[in-house]
Subunit: 474 residues, 2 copies
C-alpha cells in the first residue's frame, strides 16, 4: 500500500485493498471505467490511470474488448527461485565457449531470442528519434562531425543531471561523464580503479558480460550469496569486507541482471555505509532503474552517497536506442581519474547521437516513452510468468521482478540448462543458460528469459514449447 497525494494512486490503493482482503476474487470483472466515473465522480483519466497502476502491480489484467479482471497472479503464491550460495572463494570456470554459442547467432531473425537483454524494435520510438537526428544536425556546431569536449556533450550531461532528481539524486552536469554505453562506462571504472590480481565483489548470479570484463582485466571475482528478490545478502557482504582484501564492489541495485532482484531502500543505505566505512568504491550498474513497474522510480545506492564513493553507471541502451551508444557515469570523487582513463581509451563519444538523447530528455519525450515501454514490459512480464507457471512442470520456480527485462527461472535440479539450450535451439528458441552467470558451478538448472520481445501468440507458444521440453527431461 502506498501513500500518495495523487487521486489515481489513492484509488489504486483502494482497489488493491479490495483484492487483498478478498472483496474482489480471481477472475472477477471490474466495473468499466465509465461506470466507475458515474459512481465516484472521478474523471476518466483518473480512473484509467488507477486501473493501469493496479495492472502494473500485477493484480488485474486487461482482456481485449472485454475489460479488466482480477488476475491469476494476484492470488497465486509463486514459488520464488532459491537464493544463491556460492562458495567464498574466487573460482574461474571458463564459460567463453558457451557464451560464444549463445550469442553467436544474435542476428538470426528466425530464432526467438529469449536470451537477449535488449528492447525489441517495436518498443523503440524510431520516428521521433529520426526527427531528433535531423534537429541535432541543425543545432550542433559542424553538425556533430567534430570531437566533443572530453567530459562529453553538455546538453546530455545537463539533462542526465536533471533526470537524477527522479531517483533522489542532485547531480549537476559537472558530476557526469558521458560514455559510449553502460558497458563502456563500467569498463572505464574497472580499468581506472583496479589492477590485475585485485579482488572485486559481485552478486551471484551476475551478468556474464561483467564477469568476463572483470576476468579480462585480470581480476578475481568474489561472488556473494544473493537473494532473488532483495539482492546481495548483507551479512555475507559485511563478512567479506571485514575479512578479505577487496578492491571494489560492483552491484545492480535495481532489477538486477539476471535475477531481477531489487535491493530494499534500507539495504541500499547500508551498502553505501559499508563502502564508506571500508573506503571501498561501489560501481553501481543502474541501467534498468528507469524500467520500474511500481508507481515511482526506485532510488539507487548513489541516492544515499554523500562521500562520492559510488560510481553510478547507466545508459539508454535498454530504453531508447542501443545503437546510439549513449551511456554515462557519475563518478563521485573519482572524476579526475575516470576522465583521464576516458581520454586514453575512448577520447570522445559519438557526438550526434548523444545530442539526440539530450534533446529527447529535455523535451519530455523520454518520460512519455518510458511510461509506454514500462507498461508494455510489465504486461509482458505478467504474461511470461503466467505462461511459465501454466506450461512448465510443477516445482518450477520463477522470479517476480518489479522492473527491468529478465525473468529468472529455476527448473528441477535434474535439468541442465546448458544441454536444454541446445534442445531449445532445435525449435529455434534461444535461452540464456544459468551457468554463464557465474564462474562457479552454480545455476546449472536455471535460465534467464528476456521479456523485451513483444507479446504474441507465437511467443506464448515458444514458452509453452520450452515448458514441454522441460517436462520431457524429467
Amino acid at each position: 500500500m502506498k501513500n500518495s497525494n495523487y487521486l489515481y494512486l489513492q484509488f489504486a490503493d483502494v482497489i488493491e485493498k479490495q483484492i487483498k482482503t478478498g472483496l474482489l476474487n480471481v477472475g472477477d470483472k471490474l466495473p468499466s471505467i465509465r461506470e466507475v466515473c458515474a459512481e465516484t465522480g472521478y474523471s476518466m483519466s483518473t480512473v484509467s490511470k488507477a486501473y493501469y497502476e493496479v495492472e502494473s502491480r500485477s493484480l488485474i489484467e486487461s482482456r481485449p474488448q472485454s475489460g479488466y479482471y482480477v488476475s491469476n497472479i494476484s492470488a497465486r503464491t509463486i514459488p520464488e527461485p532459491s537464493p544463491s550460495s556460492p562458495i567464498l572463494k574466487c573460482e574461474n570456470i571458463d564459460r567463453e565457449d558457451l557464451i560464444d554459442q549463445v550469442y553467436g547467432n544474435m542476428m538470426d531473425k528466425d530464432i526467438t531470442m529469449l536470451s537477449l537483454g535488449f528492447p525489441s524494435n517495436e518498443l523503440l520510438p524510431i520516428a521521433k528519434l529520426n526527427k531528433g537526428m535531423v534537429q541535432a544536425m541543425r543545432q550542433l556546431p559542424n553538425s556533430g562531425t567534430s570531437y566533443e569536449e572530453v567530459q562529453g556533450n553538455l546538453n546530455l550531461r545537463k539533462e542526465i543531471a536533471r533526470w537524477s532528481f527522479s531517483w533522489g539524486g542532485s547531480l549537476t552536469e559537472r558530476d557526469i561523464i558521458t560514455m559510449p554505453g553502460c558497458t563502456s562506462a563500467i569498463s572505464h571504472c574497472l580499468m581506472t580503479l583496479t589492477k590485475p590480481g585485485d579482488t572485486i565483489i559481485t552478486e551471484s548470479p551476475a551478468y556474464f558480460g561483467i564477469l568476463q570484463l572483470a576476468k579480462s582485466l585480470g581480476l578475481y571475482i568474489m561472488e556473494l550469496p544473493t537473494n532473488m528478490t532483495t539482492g546481495i545478502e548483507l551479512d555475507a557482504l559485511k563478512k567479506a569486507l571485514s575479512s578479505k582484501k577487496v578492491t571494489l564492489c560492483l552491484l545492480m541495485s535495481n532489477f538486477s541482471n539476471p535475477s531481477g532482484s531489487m535491493m530494499p531502500v534500507e539495504h541500499k543505505k547500508e551498502v553505501v555505509k559499508l563502502m564508506e566505512f571500508y573506503n571501498i568504491p561501489l560501481i553501481e550498474d543502474d541501467i534498468h532503474g528507469d524500467l520500474y513497474f511500481g508507481s515511482s522510480r526506485p532510488t539507487n545506492c548513489k541516492t544515499y552517497d554523500e562521500s562520492g564513493i559510488v560510481l553510478c553507471c547507466s545508459s539508454v541502451s535498454k530504453t531508447l536506442a542501443p545503437g546510439y551508444r549513449a551511456g554515462w557515469v557519475s563518478p563521485g570523487k573519482f572524476k579526475k581519474e575516470i576522465l583521464r582513463n576516458k581520454i586514453y581509451h575512448t577520447l570522445s563519444s559519438p557526438t550526434i547521437t548523444h545530442e539526440v538523447v539530450g534533446d529527447f530528455l529535455k523535451n519530455g519525450r523520454y518520460e512519455n516513452h518510458l511510461r509506454k515501454i514500462r507498461q508494455i514490459l510489465n504486461r509482458n512480464c505478467n504474461n511470461y510468468i503466467n505462461t511459465v507457471l501454466e506450461s512448465f512442470p510443477a516445482g518450477t520456480k520463477v522470479s517476480q521482478p518489479q522492473g527491468g527485462f529478465f525473468l529468472w527461472v529455476e527448473l528441477d535440479k535434474k535439468i541442465d540448462t546448458a544441454a536444454f539450450y541446445h534442445l531449445a535451439m532445435k525449435h529455434n528458441i534461444s535461452i540464456a543458460p544459468g551457468r554463464i552467470f557465474s564462474f562457479q558451478n552454480q545455476f546449472s538448472n536455471c535460465m534467464r528469459l528476456s521479456f523485451g520481445l513483444p507479446w504474441t501468440n507465437e511467443l506464448r507458444q515458444s514458452i509453452q514449447t520450452l515448458g514441454q521440453l522441460a517436462a520431457k527431461q524429467l
Copy 2:
C-alpha cells in the same frame, strides 16, 4: 622521380627535373596553364593536375591571381631535426599534469590550437555527411537505433576491405572489426595482447595518448631511437628484440605522430620479417596513411604481412568526421581474441555514423574528399615550413613530412618548450611541448605543430609570433 603511365605524372616529373637541374630557379614564374596547353597540346586538366602534383612535392607554389612560381623550399636545404636517442631502459616520468594543461582548454575558441591533431571544420564535408545521415536513417533496419552485430557494420567493413587495395592489401569484410575510433582500436589490441608488467616497443617521440594508454594498462614502454624522416631505427629494433623480453611493438609507419616520419618500404618489410621471426605482434597505427602528399598511397606494414602478425588500426577521425567515432582494426590472426575483448568492453559501435562512413566510401565521395584535404594539408604544410624558416631563429630545425598533420620543430637547446608553451598561451597560441611525447627526459627543446588549421594571415602571424618569442629566449 616517379615512373608512371599517367601523362600528368610524366609531365610533373619533367618539371621536377627542370627545377632540380637548375633549368628553373627559385622565384621563376612558370608559364600559365593556357600557355603550356598551347605549346604541348596537353589538355587543361592534364597540365593543371601536373602543376598540383609538383606543388604537392613542395617544388612550386601558387600565388593568388598571379600564377605558379618555383618555391623557396625547392632549393633550400632545410635542417632536419635530430634523430632521437632514448636510453634503452623503460623510464616513466609523469607527464599527466602537462598534458592536462595543454588539452584542458581544447574547446576554447579564442586560442589558436596548433597543439591539436585533428582537421579543422573547414576541411570536413559536413553537408554531404548530413545527406548521408538522412540516407542512412532510411536504409538501416530500425534507422540504426539497434545494436549492430559484434564484428561491426557490414557495409563499412566491406568498404574498408575494398579500400585496402589502395595500400596493397587484400582484406575481406571478415578480416575487419569496427571500433569507435582508432584510439579505441589500439586500446582493444593492447588490452587483448598484453598483461601488466609486459614491455612494449614504440618509436620515440611517440604520440602521448599511446604512451599514456600503455602506462594506464601497467605496461613498460621501451622507446627506441627514431629518425625523423625514416622512422624507428632498425638496428636498435633488432637489438631490442634479440636481447629483451618484448610483448609487442606499436608503430606508425606512415606520417608518424609527432615526428611525421615515414618508414621506407624496405624498412616496413624488414619490420614485418622481424616480427614474424620473433613471433611478436605489431600494432600498426595507420591513421594518417590516406593523408599522403605524394602521388600514391604509401603501403603500410600490413601490406607485407602474410602470417597475420600485424594488427592494423585506423579511422576516419583525421580525414572525415572525428565525432562519428568510426574506426577499425584488421586484427590478422588475433581476430577471435579481439572480438571477445570488444564484446566485454565496448559491445557495439555507433550504428548510424558507421553506416554513413560506409556509404561515403562506397559512392566515391571519400576518395574525392581525400583528394581535396590532401592538397590543402600539403599547402598548409609548405606554408608552415616557410613561415617557420623565415620567423624562427637560425638553427631551428623542422621536419618535412610527406603527409599527415604534424610538423616537428627542434629549437635551440636553451629553449624549454614546456615553459615556451605558457609563454605562447599568453598570446593565445597553443603548442604541444616535445617532452609529452616521451617518458624519458627528451625533446624538451622540441614542439609539435599541427597544420590541420586553415591557412590565414592570422595563422601566419601566430607562427611569426612564436618565432619572435623563441628569438627572445636566446
